[in-house]
Symmetry: C2
Subunit: 321 residues, 2 copies
């Protein structure tokens, strides 16, 4: 195995670049802007240039770079092909091939961003020490990743781990961001929690400290629930029931050892985890009742870690053949 590898997380605004040792230490990370002009044509050239500049700056030879791992906010096929990425302006593109033409590296691995984050959390985060893990990221939307035997489950159509779009309520009439109806994201994202709060406050006159706020956030809901506000507690209970129910379903499909919950909403901490766990245990098949729940710890770096992990794993596998 060579000494260095890059883990790169492409977001809609910035690209997070990470230089790692192949022993798994992050040496340095930095960001470059995501230039979305001309259907994102500059994104990969910018990344290739940033890698070359960093290697020159540190006097590291390209021959000593094991590979490049990249994650992208879109569905990925065969660890290399993005199947349309609206956020970046990309259509169907073989990212590994395109980047390989710009920089002389064979070992290039590509993953969906949420899947890479799950792998990162498995390796160095809230799921460290486990190999069968499901991560759920509760932010503006809801993302997810499934890791089995230490590897990302990418899915035949690139939709493996799209936990935010698990169908929870086939009678829902309002649309999810994806256009379909009744998906997990509609109930457990920060946006969904605020929507629920507003609905509950609107249908009654019951007192609630949430009524004193000019603008309600998901954080407010959890903060007020911690302080004992009854309506806020009801909302937290609802979020926990829906998310715990989703985890119970997921266990009957892939039966992970641990669920790792991340994203802004997960900062609610114990009140969220304990509610989710309660509903999980009540609904799940008995064999899986002892699955663990943990909080993510890597924050926005998770994707970078997961991306470089794919490259290190591919390198180890090649050495062991």
């Amino acid at each position: 195995m060579k000494d260095y590898a890059f883990g790169i997380d492409i977001g809609g605004t910035t690209v997070k670049m990470g230089l790692f040792s192949t022993k798994g230490e992050k040496i340095e990370s930095w960001e470059i802007p995501t230039r979305k002009e001309e259907s994102g044509a500059y994104i990969l050239p910018d990344i290739a240039q940033a890698i070359k500049d960093k290697l020159a700056e540190r006097s590291i030879s390209m021959d000593n770079v094991e590979g490049i791992g990249i994650d992208v906010p879109g569905p990925i096929l065969q660890d290399r092909i993005v199947n349309r990425c609206v956020n970046l302006g990309w259509g169907v593109m073989d990212v590994a091939k395109e980047l390989g033409m710009l920089i002389d590296i064979d070992n290039i691995k590509v993953a969906n961003d949420a899947n890479a984050a799950a792998l990162g959390e498995m390796w160095k985060g809230g799921g460290e020490g486990h190999t069968d893990l499901v991560m759920i990221t509760l932010g503006t939307g809801v993302g997810g990743g499934v890791i089995l035997n230490g590897k990302i489950v990418g899915g035949h159509f690139g939709a493996g781990g799209e936990i935010g779009h698990v169908l929870m309520n086939r009678f829902e009439e309002k649309p999810c961001a994806c256009g379909k109806k009744g998906h997990l994201e509609q109930y457990t994202s920060a946006t969904g929690i605020v929507r629920r709060a507003k609905e509950i406050l609107a249908i009654s006159d019951r007192p609630s400290t949430l009524r004193d706020l000019s603008e309600i956030t998901a954080k407010d809901v959890f903060d007020q629930a911690q302080k004992g506000d009854v309506i806020a507690l009801e909302i937290v209970d609802f979020v926990g029931a829906v998310l715990g129910g989703a985890c119970a379903m997921i266990s009957c499909v892939v039966d992970p050892e641990i669920f790792v919950i991340g994203g802004g909403v997960s900062r609610a901490g114990d009140i969220l985890l304990s509610t989710v766990r309660k509903y999980f245990r009540s609904g799940v098949f008995h064999a899986s009742e002892d699955a663990r729940f943990a909080l993510a710890t890597l924050g926005n770096d998770a994707g970078m870690y997961g991306s470089v992990k794919m490259v290190i794993d591919a390198g180890s596998k090649a050495e062991n053949v």
Copy 2:
């Protein structure tokens, strides 16, 4: 690879024994009774004896047997350990080790019966040609199996592919056979379909040809629906909506290329598949809309096929290292 292997499916009443060539042909299959006396202590000795007798009868040397694959109606850990199997009277037992002490074979693989059936259908049945597959068996209960990259997803707690216990309705008040409430099995098993029919017939006086029957079966419901009976069609629609919704969830977790539907209820054929597909497409994340639906074709032999496939795969892997 040696020339022969055994695929064995242990059921609560009979053990299905299969002698296969390692090229994948079934040479002969037969059954022996499942003796459950004394906590199932005779089951593995009976199997070992049946194998020895068959080899003697056909003058096949033990040295030319690649291995033995077995499936069991209970959760399996690490391809070898059964974690309690009430139907057979077994507690926690290392099946591979116990059988290996009775017969001199190293390559012994053990799987849950529904998971083995899924692997069998992938190999020689309704899912032939695919490697990412989910099988759902609609019988008295509902079983399932998840196959990714051609391998069974057994799960950390042995509950991988327990599709019958996917939580579908957290408000359900009646219990599933497993004791929890609101699981898929309660709505889409033969038993569940009959229960639904009786409920719907009881709450109104609307005419239905189902009322003319002294005892309703799931088959009657599908038969009358085919003939246009409105209430039977409503029940089929409900079953399709619940099962299609479950498949939509499953796609957001493991995103298979194909769903294979088996079990007695699946004899309903097109009317079932087309209803399931309709609700699947309406609820699933867009990337997975083109997942295929097919009927299982191996019937009760699927477990035997899947069991021997594990052994052949393990043999191939050992040769390729």
